[in-house]
């Protein structure tokens, strides 16, 4: 297992002739086996930061270290999960799961058996030969998890992975992720705008301000583990949720600025 060390990362994009500063001097250490969520308003650069950790975007300044080595591009040490499961529609669930080992050329006689076992763990036994289109939204996400787990990533990067699911399925997937994390203890960086989800899942919640994206506060979540969804009814949970929500609301952001502009226009 490895930790992720985000060090003084800055990033700007050219947009319509002007330069927009997306991230300013962001530093977040994520320990080995730690579950950290990034929350903030839309436009706070949390997705950009995740993509920089993933190696898909290069930082203008600063660096991301994984196991002391700087990230130079994407790699199978950092599994990536998106809002859409992004299963390959031309492959069966089993072949999707086997994509990583095949791409790496690391298939052994035991690989297929391990894929089948993983699909069993994520509750997809009996659906190995189905195509993604034949699965429900939650099942597709679980297949995406199995596919990502197949290459043994030390770090999982998730960009609002349950954002497109209905409330009931989302709750089920959060429980599923808690169980899976309990079993494997990989390092997780989760981007979400759902404060409740961040508190339920994380060891620490990093709150970001917008325009430019800056780290405002890191709030530890000392709720006992293993957690289940019931923890969300405890007083501690409600307190922590309130604290995170306040931090998000008080962080400088696009909406607040629009509000100020509107107030100014009234006078």
């Amino acid at each position: 297992m490895a930790g992720v060390h985000v060090r003084n990362v800055s990033k700007s994009f050219a947009h319509g002739g002007s330069i927009v500063e997306i991230l300013r001097n962001v530093s977040i250490p994520v320990g080995e086996g730690e579950f950290v969520s990034l929350v903030g308003r839309s436009g706070c650069g949390k997705t950009t930061l995740l993509r920089i950790i993933g190696g898909f975007v290069h930082a203008d300044a600063g660096s991301v270290l994984v196991d002391e080595a700087p990230v130079r591009g994407p790699g199978s040490d950092r599994g990536m999960l998106f809002q859409q499961p992004m299963l390959f529609p031309w492959l069966t669930v089993l072949d999707n799961t086997l994509f990583g080992p095949r791409a790496e050329g690391s298939c052994t006689p035991g690989t297929r058996a391990r894929a089948l076992e993983l699909l069993g763990i994520v509750g997809l036994a009996g659906f190995e030969f189905h195509y993604p289109k034949q699965l429900s939204g939650g099942m597709m996400h679980r297949a995406a998890f199995a596919r990502a787990m197949m290459v043994d990533p030390e770090i999982l990067l998730m960009d609002e992975p349950f954002g497109a699911l209905d409330a009931l399925t989302r709750t089920g997937m959060q429980q599923f992720l808690l169980d899976l994390w309990e079993r494997r203890r990989f390092t997780v960086v989760l981007v979400t705008h759902d404060v409740e989800e961040a508190v339920l899942l994380s060891d620490r919640v990093a709150v970001m301000a917008s325009q430019p994206g800056e780290l405002v506060e890191t709030i530890p979540i000392p709720l006992p583990r293993p957690r289940t969804y019931e923890v969300s009814e405890s007083a501690d949970f409600v307190d922590l949720k309130r604290r995170v929500r306040r931090a998000v609301e008080h962080a400088r952001g696009g909406t607040a600025m629009v509000g100020a502009g509107r107030a100014a226009a009234l006078y």
Binding site: G55, S76, M80, M86, P89
Partner: protein
């Protein structure tokens, strides 16, 4: 269910032929079938070719023209999708050329290449290229970037992700482009065979109308429909293999 429509057309045709009862204006389906079957393997007296031979001739021209046109179109489309400057240069040319019916080039191609096989094969290819370029570029552009990123974070090299994900994901769209291009090929070949050929189904239809042998005109049309349907069926089969579950 698809057969119901075809049956309706044939029954309507048959009833209309009964009412008109003039074999030159509208021969019945039965008379057409008789002519078709008769000349399928026997040469028509005024010419030395069987219908089967003419069909084979048209089919060979189509396959040759379609093959080179599709190859050029796919390669050009793939390069345009990958290289932005090339796209900026070629895009306006395609947009300029696309509304031009390939048939407008027939006289020019005859001047350049004579009336042999070359102008016909060139013409079909010219019709196929813009359709394939447009559909290949669209199919490659439509591949979500997250597919590539997912593949890369699963350990795929850039090359593996390109071949096994980007190209593979674009395949169904490319095959749909091939189906459209096949349709244009038939338009081209029949037109050019009517203007500059001494065999092929387009020539048969024109010749038959010169001699008012309406049953033979219909035979030619039916054969074109049949062969076009078979070729499209093959492409649809390939597409189903490329995109299981639609």
């Amino acid at each position: 269910m698809g057969l119901v429509g075809v049956l309706c057309i044939i029954v309507g045709w048959w009833l209309a032929a009964l009412v008109i009862s003039d074999n030159v204006i509208l021969p019945s389906p039965v008379a057409t079938a008789r002519t078709l079957l008769h000349y399928l393997t026997r040469p028509y007296p005024a010419r030395g070719e069987t219908l089967l031979g003419d069909t084979a001739m048209s089919l060979a021209r189509i396959l040759a023209g379609f093959a080179w046109g599709a190859l050029v179109g796919v390669v050009l489309g793939a390069l345009m999708s990958a290289l932005r400057p090339l796209r900026l240069i070629v895009d306006p040319l395609i947009e300029l050329g696309r509304p031009l019916p390939p048939l407008a080039f027939i006289p020019l191609l005859i001047v350049w290449f004579g009336i042999g096989e070359l102008p016909k094969v060139v013409l079909i290819g010219l019709g196929v290229i813009p359709i394939m370029v447009v559909s290949v570029v669209a199919a490659l552009d439509a591949v979500p970037e997250e597919y590539i990123e997912a593949a890369r974070s699963l350990g795929a090299s850039p090359r593996y992700a390109l071949l096994h994900v980007r190209v593979r994901a674009a395949l169904p769209g490319v095959i749909t482009g091939l189906r459209l291009a096949m349709g244009i090929s038939w338009t081209s070949i029949v037109a050019v065979e009517m203007i500059a050929a001494t065999n092929g189904l387009g020539y048969v239809i024109l010749e038959a109308s010169n001699y008012l042998v309406t049953t033979l005109i219909f035979s030619g049309i039916v054969l074109i429909a049949a062969v076009a349907l078979i070729l499209d069926g093959l492409l649809r089969l390939v597409r189903r293999l490329a995109a299981p579950m639609g």
